[in-house]
């Protein structure tokens, strides 16, 4: 079988990288050092936070979350005693509430009963059809027992009776003239039974978060400069020679990009294996994780070629690469997790590809979910890759002209 030219370009690039020790440093030595240092440095790190509750309607299917959630959130926020011990926010779905707790954006969650609609009907209609038992679920994190206790206290206040009243009133508000009067005819038995469930199947350790986070940093610093070899080929006239042989520009770029992708993936995988074997970090199920790693490396590679295409000298490439890398790691949450950032910065992190990479990673590392769990981050990262390659394609022709 005749190997396509792109494979020869890849083989040549890989051999050159092996000979100049780039492969060894980027794919193995660097990741091992990073993995070891970050795991040791961040192993015992915890961040103290105020109690932040998140309320979600268990039957909600839309971002609006239903009238019950909005009403309960407003009711709890308006309570002056509540304001002293916790902040309350709403979440669209139970999955989002869990994710926010895992991302450290919230400390505990209260899931309103899926039968909130039934309560409404019962209260407004026949009491005989009212549910006899109401189950309110408290989402808690093992790391935050105080927050879980606050959430349980809120639900069980007044024997649970008051909380259910709040739910019903909130639900009826806008549908009947006097929700409180309607409520007087509604008395379900055992209004609250508490079910504590961990917010996730797995807790996210700081060492795990920073393991992946630092792998991205390493990637940005090591893989992003790799497109510089295009400039080197241009300087040495090897590019000119290849073009005279009828080798397409796309073939040359594809060969170099695929090698960068390969080295980048080995680099992140090396951090993964090291943190897993030596420090017991769990990064999530392998299949979706590999997809996320591939997309993460893909962003670094595309960024590399976009920068190479935009600059006019090799020195400019060094400068711009360093600048972009620093901005991304600072804004994206590689050093400071988004949950620990001020809200504005948290929003800004979503304008960076690494912010989405970290978000996808947190989802994977704390659950056993599949690809569906990180679909949004994957789509965003693919879009970023597409845009960066469009920029590169528009300008690489100039770089690769004789």
């Amino acid at each position: 079988m005749i190997m396509p030219r792109v494979l020869y370009v890849m083989a040549n690039e890989l051999r050159a990288r092996r000979r100049d020790h780039t492969l060894l440093v980027i794919a193995f030595v660097g990741p091992l050092l990073f993995a070891t240092i970050t795991s040791l440095a961040f192993a015992g790190l915890t961040v103290a936070r105020p109690v932040r509750l998140v309320v979600v309607d268990g039957s909600a299917t839309s971002a609006a979350g239903g009238p019950a959630r909005a009403g309960v959130v407003a009711s709890l926020r308006s309570d002056p005693r509540m304001r002293q011990i916790a902040t309350v926010d709403g979440a669209a779905t139970e999955q989002e509430a869990r994710r926010r707790i895992l991302d450290n954006e919230a400390d505990a969650g209260i899931v309103l009963p899926a039968g909130a609609g039934g309560l409404t009907q019962a209260a407004g209609g026949s009491p005989a059809t009212a549910p006899r038992n109401v189950t309110v679920t408290v989402l808690e994190s093992e790391r935050k027992p105080v927050a879980a206790g606050v959430a349980e206290a809120v639900v069980q206040y007044g024997g649970g009776r008051l909380f259910v009243d709040q739910v019903v009133i909130a639900t009826l508000r806008g549908t009947v003239d006097d929700p409180a009067a309607t409520l007087r005819g509604f008395h379900p038995h055992n209004p609250v039974s508490l079910v504590d469930v961990p917010a996730s199947a797995r807790l996210l350790r700081s060492a795990t978060y920073y393991g992946f986070s630092m792998a991205i940093v390493l990637l940005l610093f090591s893989v992003t400069p790799m497109a510089k070899s295009l400039w080197e080929d241009r300087r040495s006239n090897a590019l000119r020679r290849l073009l005279s042989m009828g080798v397409g520009r796309g073939t040359i770029v594809a060969g170099k990009a695929l090698v960068a992708q390969l080295i980048g993936m080995v680099s992140v995988a090396a951090v993964w294996v090291t943190t897993r074997l030596v420090f017991g970090s769990h990064w999530g199920p392998p299949a979706p994780l590999l997809l996320l790693i591939a997309a993460t490396v893909g962003v670094a590679v595309a960024l590399s070629f976009a920068i190479a295409a935009l600059v006019r000298t090799e020195e400019q490439m060094d400068g711009l690469t360093a600048l972009v890398t620093f901005l991304l790691v600072l804004l994206g949450g590689n050093f400071v997790p988004p949950a620990a950032m001020p809200p504005a910065m948290r929003d800004i992190s979503l304008f960076t590809p690494n912010g989405w990479e970290l978000r996808g990673f947190v989802d994977l590392a704390t659950t056993n979910g599949g690809v569906g769990l990180i679909l949004t981050p994957l789509v965003v990262l693919l879009a970023v890759i597409g845009v960066l390659w469009l920029i590169a394609a528009a300008r690489l022709r100039t770089l690769m002209s004789p």
């Binding site: 190997m3 030219r5 100049d20 300087r235 090897a238 020679r241 073009l243």
Partner: protein
């Protein structure tokens, strides 16, 4: 012999700047065509179009009737770029293999061609050494070998001797001559007039994107206004009487004293030296030195373009 490489009225502009305007050249098998021109003359642009790297605005390049835009024609052309277009981390043989693969060569055939190419440039004993460890001259020779690995019919060399010592330079020029003798059509671009004059069968001088003159060395020299001249030096440096006597000779066009030397321009190189010596003897001027200087390409170039070649 009919030309294997034909470039016909090549035109290339960059926005409003005209880089090359209607340049044509033909090179036959076994012929070495020298391309001369100062920096910015359009030499590199012309070579880029000839090698298919750059698409001309108009005009065409064919190798044996096949357009250079076709892979079949590209496969019959070998380019030796001005810079060392090699991968320093690879060995000489690995460089040849890589570029050979890019030319579609495979397996034992490629291995044989690579070793042959190394032998041609005298690097057979260095096949497995890393290119980074080579001297400048060795790199230059390997740079040429890479262009030979697929046995091209047309070889384009862009300043192949730039920055090498005289020994390596002579070796390279000998190799280029051998390639032409073996039947290759060679386009040889250089700044060095002496090597072009020594090596090339025909020459084209480019300036301002246009071909100023083309022909064999003797044809071009014949077109020149520059004349052959004698340079006489006398012990007492009193040339006035001698000048008067020399001007009586029909072949003498002009005399002048430059830095204690008497320059005697003659109409052609057939002037009898003994007649000059006889005149000097009659004038009673004892000569210490006599030198005959033919006009060079440098003179012609200066005459045609109004600038020195390395400007």
């Amino acid at each position: 012999m009919s030309a294997v490489l034909v470039a016909d009225r090549l035109v290339k502009s960059y926005r409003s700047v005209r880089a090359v305007h209607e340049i044509s050249l033909e090179v036959a098998p076994g012929e070495i065509y020298g391309l001369l021109g100062p920096n910015g003359a359009g030499k590199t642009t012309t070579l880029s179009m000839i090698t298919g790297i750059l698409r001309p605005d108009s005009g065409s390049v064919h190798i044996d009737g096949v357009s250079i835009t076709r892979a079949r024609a590209r496969g019959r052309l070998g380019l030796v770029p001005q810079e060392i277009a090699l991968y320093p981390e690879l060995t000489a043989l690995e460089n040849l293999h890589f570029f050979g693969h890019m030319q579609g060569r495979r397996g034992r055939d490629l291995q044989r061609r690579a070793l042959d190419a190394l032998a041609v440039v005298g690097l057979a004993g260095h096949a497995k050494k890393r290119t980074a460890t080579f001297s400048g001259g060795m790199k230059r020779r390997l740079n040429i070998a890479v262009a030979l690995v697929h046995s091209p019919d047309v070889i384009v060399l862009d300043e192949p001797t730039a920055g090498v010592d005289s020994q390596s330079r002579n070796a390279i020029l000998d190799q280029v001559r051998q390639l032409a003798d073996a039947g290759a059509a060679v386009v040889f671009a250089s700044h060095y007039m002496d090597e072009v004059q020594r090596l090339c069968d025909r020459i084209g001088i480019i300036d301002g994107g246009e071909m100023v003159v083309t022909g064999t060395v003797s044809e071009i020299l014949a077109k020149a206004v520059a004349r052959p001249r004698f340079v006489l030096t006398a012990d007492d440096r009193q040339y006035s009487e001698l000048e008067d006597s020399l001007r009586t000779l029909a072949e003498v066009v002009e005399t002048s004293v430059v830095r204690d030397e008497l320059h005697v321009l003659v109409s052609d190189s057939s002037v009898n030296v003994t007649s000059l010596l006889h005149v000097a003897e009659i004038a009673n001027v004892p000569l210490r030195g006599l030198q005959f200087i033919r006009p060079t390409l440098e003179d012609v170039f200066l005459e045609l373009t109004g600038k020195a070649l390395r400007e």
